[in-house]
Symmetry: C2
Subunit: 187 residues, 2 copies
């Protein structure tokens, strides 16, 4: 079964949104890039914002899937998995198409906290945090919630320093800090 027009549309939009941003990517560019007609887009999506939401949902799904596999394939021991988070980030940052976190970017362009797009970005972070908390719990942290939040700070900070400041080694710095925090939390 050939990929549906809708899927193709979401994939193309996803790529352009990540590369150029949301406001800077016009409907017409998405249509030209995907070879889909305008009426087809508006049959599947009520508006550009709906398309953005679909792209964010797909990104969330793919990213967390990749992330969990990347972490779990690197280590078996729970404590090592907490550190493997930052090895996965390092791989991500080193990719040619790294352009920051799509959800941080979405929150920048849709700043009102009640904007559905901003809400979707918040939900993504909530889900990633929940996964890190699972890892922290498995590792036997006294306060898994606290450790997870601390590691999330390092992870998000690394994304920012890698993207905004171009610090290619941000994930490595974060890993070093993470080891200190994990040692402290598991002592």
């Amino acid at each position: 079964m050939a990929p549906s027009r809708r899927d193709h549309l979401v994939d193309t939009a996803l790529e352009l949104f990540v590369r150029d941003g949301f406001h800077a990517t016009g409907i017409d560019k998405i249509l030209a890039e995907s070879g889909v007609a305008k009426m087809t887009l508006y049959k599947h999506f009520k508006s550009k914002d709906e398309l953005i939401l679909s792209a964010l949902r797909r990104r969330d799904e793919r990213f967390r899937n990749w992330f969990m596999r990347a972490v779990e394939s690197r280590a078996q021991a729970p404590r090592q998995r907490l550190l493997a988070i930052f090895d996965a980030l390092d791989e991500w940052f080193s990719g040619r198409d790294f352009n920051g976190c799509m959800f941080i970017n979405a929150s920048a362009e849709f700043a009102r906290p009640d904007d559905p797009i901003h809400v979707a970005a918040a939900e993504h972070l909530r889900l990633v945090l929940a996964y890190v908390r699972e890892l922290a719990t498995a590792a036997g942290a006294r306060d898994a919630e606290a450790l997870a939040r601390e590691l999330m700070l390092l992870a998000e900070g690394a994304i920012v320093m890698a993207h905004v400041a171009g610090q290619a080694d941000a994930a490595k710095n974060a890993r070093r800090a993470a080891r200190t925090l994990v040692d402290h939390a598991l002592a």
Copy 2:
């Protein structure tokens, strides 16, 4: 001496850019809000991008000024100043008009690393990092550069978690992690 038209323009633009984003803020809105004529704007700035750069420069100047005063007024001892960073962030996040970091947002909308606006954002982070490194050096850290980078990760991560995920206590989590890292680095 009345504030110059140019200054008023930059201030108005700064406010709107922070609140609504860069692409979402049109020239006309800035003019209407500031009561300045269009030709006056284009006499002072070659383009909208030039106005954005001026707004970023002003923001960088004001933010770092506020930040250094906020840190130094909270503590005298170098080690305590490193932790005061996160008390200052907490105050910032609690403000009614907190809308994330303008430089992270700018990098999201102007993603190409060689874009002058992205470069300006990178420079801002570089300057903040330099200040944190000074504090770390004064505190007698064995590796001041490493400690400064780790604390920067926590700070930027806190900004993201506070803005994107609406975590009001992000700065407090960061402060707790920072204490662990500082203790480890000064041991």
